[in-house]
């Protein structure tokens, strides 16, 4: 992947592996396996660390709180023990969204810092939010997948200047869009057996519409302060709509 940093690969996976396309299932080998015993899990994996960091994110991070509130209003209340799963994953992937089970997978072996957990959770919650509010055909429609990837890269903080510099990707004018496009293409290629040209074409076709779809934030949050402001505006949205 890029410079050893774990990358979110939000994949919609199916329980049954397709003949040609496993929909990214190979990256999450612990899906559908029998859960390990509590002792093995606690002593020999990073499961507990993952759970602690996840709870910290859900309770304190404004990006996640806004998304949780938005999903609740859409009818998809998120429960920690049902909709999140800390597992070991392959490669450099950091997490994924399993549409078949409506679960967000967090890669406990690849997420080591709280800031990374914040970003991954936000990214996957955006996929879950899209799944909740729209008929997203994760398996058969690459454009739908591309759209959700564009939105997740755009709104989760994946493409902040600091994160890009840490990846040794330098640029300033409109670099955010370059980053969003590139990360969307990489995520599609990681979880779908399509050619690079197909992925690029899908991303380019939906880019304008999906880059400008800022739900539920209403703005591109470049910092936690922006996210807090967006959260406050979201909570007041009923008043806005009533008064407009």
């Amino acid at each position: 992947m890029e410079d050893g940093e774990g990358e979110s690969s939000p994949a919609a996976e199916t329980k049954g592996a397709e003949e040609k396309d496993d929909f990214g299932y190979r990256l999450f080998p612990d899906r559908n396996k029998k859960p390990q015993s509590f002792l093995v899990r606690s002593l020999f994996t990073f499961h507990n660390r993952c759970q602690v960091m996840l709870r910290m994110t859900l309770e304190t991070n404004p990006y996640a709180q806004l998304l949780l509130e938005a999903m609740k209003q859409s009818g998809c209340t998120v429960f920690n023990d049902r909709h999140f799963s800390c597992e070991n994953c392959d490669g450099c992937v950091s997490g994924g969204f399993d549409a078949a089970t409506s679960q967000i997978v967090l890669c406990q072996n690849n997420i080591r810092q709280q800031s990374h957990m914040n970003r991954v959770v936000t990214h996957e919650l955006i996929h879950a939010f899209d799944h909740c509010r729209a008929h997203v055909d994760w398996f058969k429609n690459v454009k739908h997948l591309a759209c959700s990837e564009i939105r997740a890269a755009n709104l989760s903080g994946d493409c902040t200047l600091m994160n890009e510099i840490a990846r040794f990707k330098f640029g300033l004018k409109r670099h955010h869009q370059t980053c969003v496009r590139d990360r969307a293409i990489r995520s599609i290629l990681a979880v779908r057996k399509v050619s690079k040209e197909t992925a690029e074409k899908a991303v380019d076709e939906v880019f304008d519409a999906c880059f400008n779809d800022l739900e539920p934030f209403g703005r591109i949050p470049h910092s936690k302060a922006d996210a807090r402001r967006a959260y406050k505006d979201f909570q007041n949205r009923d008043r806005y709509n009533a008064n407009l």
Partner: protein, 98 residues
């Protein structure tokens, strides 16, 4: 009544004119932001509070697709990529073994 408190429009205007926002706008969109609409909305809001006729206008910043800050979509409408649901996915709350 205006969609938002007048202080919100003032805040959006001040925030829009700040260096940090200008930088992020340039980084995301390749151009410096235009903030005049928030100031106009603030003035209109204050005029409404004073009981003026300007209250009849919908604040430009709050119109769907218009204005910076809320929905920075440059006023353009795009064809939706997917169809919105009328109810949440039926299996959202199903236990995992189902």
């Amino acid at each position: 009544q205006p969609p938002r408190a007048c202080e919100d429009y003032w805040w959006e205007w001040k925030h829009c004119r700040g260096l940090r926002h200008a930088f992020h706008h340039y980084y995301a969109h390749g151009a410096l932001p235009s903030c005049g609409r928030w100031r106009e909305d603030y003035e209109a809001c204050r005029a409404w509070e004073r009981g003026g006729a300007a209250s009849a206008q919908v604040p430009r910043g709050d119109r769907p697709g218009g204005g910076p800050g809320i929905q920075e979509s440059r006023g353009q409408k795009y064809a939706p990529v997917w169809r919105l649901r009328k109810s949440p996915p039926p299996d959202w709350y199903l236990p995992l073994d189902q």
